[in-house]
Symmetry: C2
Amino acid sequence: MKLLDIYAKMKSDLDVIEGQLARSVTSDHELLSETSTHLLKAGGKRIRPVFVLLAGKFGDYRLNVLERIAVPLELIHMASLVHDDVIDNAETRRGQLTVKAKWDNRIAMYTGDYIYGKALTIVTDLNNPVIHQILSKAMVQMCIGEMEQIRDFFNTEQSVRNYLLRIRRKTALLIAVSCQLGAIASGAGHRSANLLYKFGYNVGMAFQIRDDLLDLLGTEKQIGKPPGSDIKQGNMTLPVLLALQESSIKEPLLYEIKKIQESNGAGDTTKALNFIRKSAGIQVAEEMATRYINKAIQALSGLPNIPAKKNLTDIAHFVAKRNY
Amino acid sequence: MKLLDIYAKMKSDLDVIEGQLARSVTSDHELLSETSTHLLKAGGKRIRPVFVLLAGKFGDYRLNVLERIAVPLELIHMASLVHDDVIDNAETRRGQLTVKAKWDNRIAMYTGDYIYGKALTIVTDLNNPVIHQILSKAMVQMCIGEMEQIRDFFNTEQSVRNYLLRIRRKTALLIAVSCQLGAIASGAGHRSANLLYKFGYNVGMAFQIRDDLLDLLGTEKQIGKPPGSDIKQGNMTLPVLLALQESSIKEPLLYEIKKIQESNGAGDTTKALNFIRKSAGIQVAEEMATRYINKAIQALSGLPNIPAKKNLTDIAHFVAKRNY
């Protein structure tokens, strides 16, 4: 089944989530409602809610419970995006002005804090402390991942292992937890929850590698921001680290990266992108993403053959190949 | 009993909290441990943990449970301070360099996020969802309070009521919740928890009014930052709003505030401070603080006469008069 068909089949439940998302941030305070709603309307694939709902199919599927997992997870993801935009000095995301660009950094920071807080008030409505624990631990790991990214900006000597550990925290964990908590909240049992966690973790790794590839290969129209944004910001992604291992590319690429770093965000990334694009780094990174997808699908093999399993498999295949 | 004597009597338990605070942030990640520890070492009165422990005396006092309330509350307070320093562009706090000054804004932002997350992982260890709910709601309200502060920067037409609502969210709620959760965690019963909440709320209001007075009246040595910081930043506190109600002061003070606003942080606050200091705003604000303290002490009258009640009373009196 194609991704759009999966979304279409889940439409009525996803509409409920979308409504709850909108409601969760429109209250209390006008400016916060406005900034949060602006953020929400920028859209996104809502992949975390989709995973929560599909994982919930392996147990006793109750939307009124699962929404209290799906909404907070999407909110936490959104909160991390607003804070990222402050850090990255990003003007647009998904083709829309960022909160920090439309308002300012201070407002973006508190909008993030507010959305984090809202996420927690929703999940704590579920009387299951284990869920609260898993979620708060994931939040801590995400912050560590973000800090690692800052620490490693323009660090051209970091290892591939270092990159993988970072995206594990920054991205894969929250997707893993989406699958795991969907299963736990629907009482799917310990074993299913673990397998779904494993699925989500591997899909998340592939998702981020693909995201990093798109930043190097995509067009502004496809990715909603200028390509090369990562390298401009100093974020040394997998294909870059791999390209730096090629003796014929290493020195000229290091020179370009240094120029970008010294230009303080004003530099031209064209030459650096060309070096990376012609390196073997692109293909090796693609192969690594595929390997993660295969592992994800393997994790599913231990689960019962319900339609949701087929949907998760299809989504995994999509993640590996997506170009938006 | 004097404040120092109360602290001395609680020393061994507060030392446990201090140790847990240090441990809670030293882990996982070197830079985050370093920034968080820097923040912790800047000290503070640890008034929230003190309230948690004293409130716990009205029930079944168990330090191993209460520490899981006291530590998160102090961490949440600290996280909000790091984020405030980003917003306020503050160079020093309590006489020490702020995280944003010693490192940078990005690191300060993620340090705050990390500490919020850590706070939640600790409190969620307690299998009591009600506690998680109260805490996450308090966090949301705090963010709203902070945003209100930004929205009202240099708004000289805001009402006193507006100011009171803002400090309620920004400060009083977290202190109220400290007392309330100490009571709940020790099983002190609904009525005691409510009275202690009321105590904390009123002490918190007085605490913030006093804080705002100190920023206008204190010396740099007393308050650990240059006096007039609030007005420089645009934070229109109670004495300022009251001074603006005096016909002989209004116009010249408005003129000074406008100059400060237009100077973008470089302006001199001396004249504005002089106008405010000679207004009746100082005394009226002091009277309001005293009224809140009296209400706080009144709330205690419904509680059993244990030593902790006397301690809370003494702390309330101290808050009303403190000059550091």
